[in-house]
Symmetry: C2
Subunit: 417 residues, 2 copies
């Protein structure tokens, strides 16, 4: 007797079926579907905005914080930009089918590795409804079905966006189930979603710390974590201090709320007396907390606690440490860094080489802002997230990171001795 699948597993099975079609769909078919999705989204913009207004009103009635409501809110411009995002993804090269390497064995076997879709990509995300279309676009272009689970606050918006895209995909001849949205936004469904082994080939959580913690605790499906960015800028003894100042200010202030913003400034003792007062002046809008050596130079700075050095502030606060040498700088980064992005500013080649070699992070930057750790900035055209784990993908994830490799072995009847 077959056991009836749960409603969520039945949804996953629909995504799985669609994934089989998508896996062998050509780039032309996928691009046509993305454009059709964009057209339908524009066509149904009124319905999307009406649903969004209901979500926003419900959130406001429930007393949700203004910042959260802002992330939830759509307007005509945002919907147009979602449609434009679909067209931009259509314009990117198709990662599927790339032959990564290949060789011939002495017995004549021809072996090659080719890029193929993962299958079903699960995305669990928070309030931004634009993730629905962004994620669906990247999944479809890379030949994967998108199995999406957004928040209850955005459910009406997400349903309306998904309906438009599904209609577009189907109109273009690809399965509507290329995008399957979970409409049951209960906590139980979230946990079940994380455990749909066999139905989700790769899970990418998009959200804050509590979501990541839930994935680490409950997920039994394979996942890629987009974790904290406790990023450092180390100003070396041999740094061009004007360059260092410009980098520190950019890394901290250009967009403080994101994971690739700097959270900590580490300065070599030889240049601290000259650099720190200049930095403090340039960072006047930033709350600085420092160690004893830093405070001896800039007394206005409050004392940094151990927790400060370990914290991703995601705002206008910066921890400051003075170190005796490059070894101490590397040790500091090792102790407090989260493996996201670590930068050195130096004119000394040996220092740059040691830093890039010895610092264990997804991205190590020499003489540039930490803010460049980003799929667009890296030239990927779009990103699904920034991985802080080591397996599968590390750093900005584009279309390529939504694929895996398949070995194809061709022979002429070879058998093993």
């Amino acid at each position: 007797m077959a056991i009836a699948p749960t409603p969520l597993a039945a949804l996953g099975a629909r995504a799985r079926e669609a994934a089989r079609v998508l896996a062998v769909a050509g780039a032309d078919a996928k691009d046509a579907a993305l454009h059709a999705g964009a057209d339908l989204l524009v066509q149904h913009a009124d319905a999307v905005l009406a649903a969004n207004r209901r979500d926003v009103a419900r959130a406001e009635d429930a007393g949700v914080a203004a910042g959260v409501v802002d992330r939830l809110r759509l307007d005509g411009r945002r919907v147009a930009s979602m449609a434009e995002g679909l067209r931009q993804v259509a314009a990117l090269p198709d990662p599927v089918g790339e032959v990564v390497d290949g060789w011939v064995r002495p017995n004549g076997l021809r072996i090659r590795r080719a890029r193929v879709p993962l299958g079903v990509v699960g995305i669990i995300y928070e309030n931004r409804p634009n993730v629905t279309s962004d994620a669906a676009a990247l999944c479809l272009k890379s030949g994967n079905a998108a199995f999406l689970r957004g928040s209850s606050a955005a459910i009406g918006s997400n349903v309306a966006i998904a309906a438009a895209l599904r209609e577009g995909f189907a109109k273009a001849g690809l399965p509507a189930d290329s995008l399957v949205l979970v409409e049951d936004a209960s906590r139980e469904s979230a946990t079940e979603f994380l455990q749909l082994r066999g139905l989700i080939d790769c899970l990418v959580p998009r959200g804050g710390r509590s979501l990541i913690a839930a994935v680490l605790e409950h997920a039994t499906v394979p996942y890629v974590i987009d974790g904290d960015g406790n990023c450092h800028v180390y100003v070396d003894a041999a740094a061009d201090l004007d360059m260092a100042l410009s980098i520190v200010v950019n890394a901290k202030c250009q967009r403080p709320s994101v994971c690739n913003a700097a959270e900590s400034l580490v300065v070599h003792a030889d240049v601290a007396a000259e650099f720190l007062p200049r930095a403090a002046a340039a960072l006047e809008a930033v709350e600085l907390v420092g160690d004893d050596a830093a405070r001896a130079i800039v007394p206005a700075m409050a004392a940094a606690t151990e927790a400060d050095f370990a914290t991703e502030f995601l705002g206008l606060k910066l921890s400051v440490a003075v170190v005796a040498d490059l070894d101490a700088a590397i040790a500091h980064v090792r102790r407090y860094g989260s493996g996201h992005t670590e930068a050195i500013v130096t004119g000394d080649l040996a220092a740059a080489n040691r830093f890039t070699r010895e610092v264990d992070a997804a991205v190590v930057v020499v003489n540039a802002s930490t803010r460049f750790t980003d799929g667009e900035q890296f030239g990927f055209g779009a990103e699904i997230g920034i991985s802080t784990q080591k397996l599968h993908a590390r750093g900005p994830m584009g279309l390529r990171e939504l694929t895996c490799l398949k070995y194809v072995v061709e022979g002429d009847g070879q058998v093993r001795d």
Copy 2:
């Protein structure tokens, strides 16, 4: 107040420290350590064999099955072969430092991806003591510390092997903790091992189904699964039947107990009447179970159950199905395959192309035995396992699969607008 780490976490921290040294060790230093380890293993062979005799005696007293005792037992030849294995790994190219790709952005940023060690590789394994030296060698060569947790049955052998290798590594100037062995072989320590997040960068379980199930259930560290191989050979209508016979016999019988052996034969209806009687004769030592169509041709065959088609027999048993066409063959493989290795025998290019494209497995083989899915056979020189998952590594895993990629971004003071 700092919380004292558990004994297991303290061991992991020692491996983590060693990993930092190994990450920047050159190939010469690593190769010298592998040779020194081999020398010391040979030098301490008597101690290893004495410890092994005690393990074997204890297992026999406990009434452990003969096959298990056999896997546990070492002799002079096996120890010599372990030492030779260390030297073979030393002779392989170092995967660390390879620049996989790189490009320049319009703003002048130079971006490259370089291969770096994972850090600490955890291996949890069963009774074969040779895994202790094999795994340590592959981890060290790829710049990783090996954090090993074997079975209680082999604990004395493992301790003796690890002691010899650690002495060799230290003698050659690398940390003894490049190999850290867990000596507490309790079930609790196994579960704790699977959950040492932050101390194990990648876990590779080496063992049977219950070990894999424990990893899937309990592990919170990142892992690569070496899972079941329910491998099929599909004999197409356009197959050279002599070639097909040779491949089927090799895939099933050359070494039936391993994951890349065939477990199922799928035959196109057009050639079944000719092929199946020949296959049955050639596979006379094999228990065949088939569907109705197969049994109509070879009546001696018992009826295959649904469970038979889903089972990795790991022995001289083979399920047989007759299919109407290539679509049905692909559907059969999709339904019952485990994503390990799937083979087609055909002279029809279109059939070969559809099979390689539509079958979702780590390795798809055309006109050769499934038994070639193997690190040695692929030319990797050695393997740590065969991944049946899609993330990070898929198929045979060699030294390359024990590394990850790090982005290095170099600029001249670039900041983001």
